[in-house]
């Protein structure tokens, strides 16, 4: 598909400009509207009694004392809510063989992770609800827990769901070419490593929360939802609370960070909706930070044994790996917890020409917090496996890691083509991105600096990653498997009487600048000043139907729908204008809020046209029926995903006395197709890189042998703060996707997906002269020192 070039070339195009966000001022003045800012008449507050055990049978619950506490309105157990909420199961048919057990909002007979909600207390304030929780008596009979994913499949491991006969949730094998023959070929050298990726969580600064309001007169549930997929949640509330979909309105106002955390079905939020329905009044639940740490989905937690074969001349002949990941006691509903492992199997090695590829993934149950899709799902693991082995192989054969990449990266003129795992690829620029990266970072100078520093006993390292990112998913991602998740999104553009545009879209805003880029596209394509566009998103009652913003799909899918809608409205308006001006539409244009001649000469204002249509329709021919509103929808066809690519590099300094790693600088070259707003994209990539650095160096959920999370506070779970973070240089290559006129691909997850591999490689480059290497993230000082000790023998 190709589009008229004037969309991108005309004077007030806006697409491609670093326009400041219109909503920045509102957020800067403290006038954001987050869920906890919502306060409704007669609103009451929920607090939860949560399991203190990783695995325990609930033998008795006594709420007598709690019920008499001040301010208590209601108390519900799992059995109480099971009468009103149907259970849910996190499986999808396209993930063949995936199994999970029915899940209830509150645990019924058995609690399966520390933090699982058991009893809900509703009171007139959160403080009083928490007071009453202290008086709820729950008797637990602790059960043996399965915590370690690596022993979860052993014969003596306690079974979390005995009916399954094992703790295996899902397994998949990918096999292309003949890896054994390739590795056995004379002259092929093998590198083999065991990678360990720590368990992370999202730590959105605004914790999860909801305000649910039920109007019994209309059987109507309004949910204020901090999240990414309002229409998906509408279906879930409908299905499990027994209300018609049209009787549920889900509103996402401002969302204080999500990163995939707030796009799942959480028992405490479902319970809050059920309580609102039962009590016929608004109920608020806001997770505190401890609740966030033990109930927000976790991610990563993979152990991977991997091998790569390479010839002396630097041809990579194949990759062979085995990935094991623990996902908690259930597969998360409705997106499932097998997607991350599936992505690792799909994406590892995808930038490179690989003839031979073998991968096995196993997903196992364990008694820890549920794991599911968090920013850059699977990408940090897939990129670290391949590019970690690649730089290890480069050291083995004595070749520069950039040279080894350039020999094996797919050629930029070789698309469309498929990866070894069968992914369809098009419009990528790995070679150009890596060349640009080495230019902007001044690679040769950095290597000289590294050599000079080593003479002073300073250990600096440089590490790279060449990566792909899955963006703009088609129905093949979720819909095909039966999930109520739209892959098609809609946009509406309306010309109001004053000549302004009101636009709405089914994609959502969590801070990326969704609303800003929608306005830029609408203003530019239609032809009005940017400040004359108002945007509505995040409301199932007032926006078109669609999937929301996740998997880096907002700009690419929602943006294209907006482009098409704005173009359709423009066509309509020019038809009306042609009648009024007694000419033909092809002799007119819209520029700067006016109907103009093609050269920009003003003929009439849009306000004059709209006021005539709305107020004085009698002046128009009766067979002219102007709409002044247009809606268009868009979904990706032809491809399961639209891949982007990038090349990134880190320069680090490792203090070999303390084990501390300091990131000195980071560079990212990203090809996300057409860039709509460079400033927003750059800062999103930087934020993603910082999240990736967090995963590589600091972040890890620690558990005791009994399954207690040991660092469930912000003082103990280390996130990146400003002082530790480097400046990050971002550059772009723009290879528009041919799947849309707009040509935009996603950019939101690239940094998080790529940075960990670059950091891993940089640390190992720094450690190499000491004979040490480290393959476990986060690369903490303790682990660095242990690696150095092991090398010293």
């Amino acid at each position: 598909m190709t589009g008229p070039t004037h969309i991108f070339d005309k004077p007030n195009r806006y697409i491609g400009q670093s326009a400041p966000r219109a909503d920045a001022a509102r957020l800067l003045q403290g006038r954001g509207r987050y869920v906890d800012d919502v306060s409704l008449p007669r609103m009451v507050h929920a607090s939860f009694v949560r399991s203190p055990h990783a695995h325990a049978r609930i033998t008795a619950i006594d709420t007598t004392a709690a019920k008499s506490c001040p301010g208590v309105v209601a108390i519900y157990t799992g059995a109480d809510l099971a009468q009103h909420v149907t259970p849910y199961v996190g499986v999808l048919t396209h993930l063949a063989g995936l199994r999970s057990a029915p899940q209830h909002p509150l645990a019924l007979d058995v609690a399966r992770w520390q933090g699982e909600p058991v009893v809900m207390v509703i009171a007139t304030s959160r403080a009083l609800a928490e007071d009453a929780c202290e008086h709820v008596m729950v008797d637990y009979d602790p059960l043996p827990a399965t915590l370690d994913a690596e022993t979860a499949l052993s014969a003596d491991a306690p079974l979390i769901h005995p009916e399954f006969g094992s703790n295996l949730a899902w397994e998949r094998v990918v096999n292309a070419g003949n890896i054994d023959a390739a590795f056995a070929t004379p002259g092929v050298k093998i590198v083999e490593r065991e990678f360990r990726f720590g368990r992370h969580t999202g730590v959105t600064l605004e914790s999860r929360g909801t305000v649910c309001d039920f109007d019994p007169s209309e059987e109507y549930l309004t949910v204020y939802y901090s999240g990414q997929a309002p229409h998906m949640m509408q279906v879930i509330f409908s299905k499990h609370l027994g209300l018609p979909e049209e009787n549920i309105r889900v509103i996402s106002n401002d969302v204080g960070g999500s990163f995939g955390i707030k796009i799942h079905t959480y028992g405490d939020e479902i319970a809050t909706a059920a309580a609102a329905k039962l009590l016929r009044r608004p109920v608020k639940f806001i997770a505190d930070r401890f609740e966030s740490f033990v109930t927000d989905i976790h991610a990563r937690d993979h152990v991977v044994r991997a091998r790569m074969g390479v010839t002396e001349a630097g041809t990579i002949v194949g990759i062979d790996f085995d990935d094991l990941t623990g996902i908690g006691p259930f597969s998360m509903y409705p997106r499932t917890s097998a997607i991350e492992c599936n992505q690792v199997l799909n994406l590892t090695g995808a930038p490179y020409v690989l003839e031979n590829y073998r991968a096995r993934g196993r997903v196992v149950f364990q008694n820890k917090t549920l794991m599911c899709q968090y920013r850059a799902v699977g990408h940090p693991i897939a990129m670290a496996i391949c590019d970690g082995l690649l730089e290890d192989a480069a050291r083995l054969i004595g070749m520069d890691p950039v040279d080894l990449r350039l020999r094996n990266l797919m050629a930029d003129d070789s698309y469309p083509r498929a990866s070894a795992s069968g992914m369809k690829l098009d419009d990528l620029s790995h070679q150009a991105a890596l060349r640009k990266l080495t230019q902007i970072m001044d690679y040769d100078t950095l290597r000289a600096d590294q050599a000079e520093a080593r003479k002073r006993g300073v250990y600096r390292g440089i590490g790279f990653v060449s990566m792909v990112e899955v963006t703009n998913p088609s129905p093949m991602f979720y819909g095909i498997g039966g999930a109520p998740i739209a892959s098609q999104d809609g946009a509406t553009v309306r010309l109001d009487a004053g000549g302004a545009l009101h636009v709405s879209s089914s994609i959502t805003e969590q801070g990326q600048g969704t609303n800003a880029i929608l306005a830029q596209i609408a203003a530019g394509v239609f032809g009005v000043d940017l400040n004359r566009v108002k945007v509505t998103t995040g409301d199932t009652a007032t926006t078109p139907y669609g999937g929301g913003t996740w998997a880096s799909r907002g700009a690419g899918i929602g943006g294209e729908a907006m482009l098409q809608a704005a173009q359709a409205l423009k066509d309509q308006v020019l038809e009306v204008a042609a009648v009024m001006l007694q000419t033909t539409p092809d002799k007119l244009d819209i520029q700067n809020g006016n109907v103009t001649d093609p050269d920009g000469t003003k003929r009439m204002t849009l306000a004059d046209l709209a006021r005539t249509v709305y107020y004085r329709g009698n002046e128009l021919p009766s067979d002219l029926k102007p709409e002044l509103i247009a809606t268009r929808h868009y979904r990706v066809t032809d491809f399961p995903f639209v891949f982007t690519n990038g090349a990134m590099a880190a320069q680090v300094e490792v203090d070999i006395e303390t084990g501390f790693v300091k990131v000195l600088h980071f560079w990212a070259v990203e090809d996300c197709g057409r860039v709509i707003n460079p400033m927003l994209v750059d800062e999103q990539i930087r934020g993603g890189v910082v999240q990736g650095i967090g995963g590589a160096l600091y972040e890890e959920c620690h558990y005791s042998p009994e399954g207690q999370m040991l660092n469930a506070t912000m003082a103990d779970y280390m996130v990146p703060m400003a002082a530790e973070m480097p400046d990050i240089t971002v550059a772009h290559i723009e290879t528009p996707t041919k799947t849309s006129v707009l040509g935009a691909k996603g950019a939101g997850e690239a940094g998080t997906g790529g940075a960990p591999a670059a950091i891993l490689n940089a640390v190992n480059d720094a450690l190499a002269p000491l004979g040490a290497s480290l393959w476990q993230m986060p690369m903490t000082p303790e682990r660095v020192l242990t690696a150095l000790d092991a090398a010293a023998g």
Binding site: Q29, D36, S39, D288, G513, E683, A722
Partner: protein, 158 residues
Amino acid sequence: MTRTVAIDLTVNGERITASVPSRLNLVDFLRNDLGLTGSHVGCEHGVCGACTLTVDGVAVRGCLMLAAQANGCTVTTVEGLSDQGLSTALQAAFTKRNALQCGFCTPGMLASALAYVNAGGTDDRDAIRAHISGNYCRCTGYQAVVEAICDTIKEART
């Protein structure tokens, strides 16, 4: 838990008298009793910085101070900073640099940045990074925040 304390304070230039539970922290009082929802609650133990606000001219954590302790104090929240024009230059610089994404950390980040600027902080990037290291931002990567604070200091000099 039912003990209450009478307090009399100035919030954003307005005199407030109230009777509050002794255990109520300042940020909950501002948000829930006064409707000043610009101050955000992120961790409730003084680590994340989202509730940073100004008490008697000093940047404090609203979650680590009781409402009762604010008796007799002058409290300025992000709403007050904005309405009284105390942070106009910083807000403009944050907008221009896109030094915010979701906006949840922003009121606290702004209060910390303002304290730095008002104390005569320099445009040294490491010093700025050190100063805002009590304010957690999951979205931006911090670089734009550093740039915005630098811009503000440089422009004030010219």
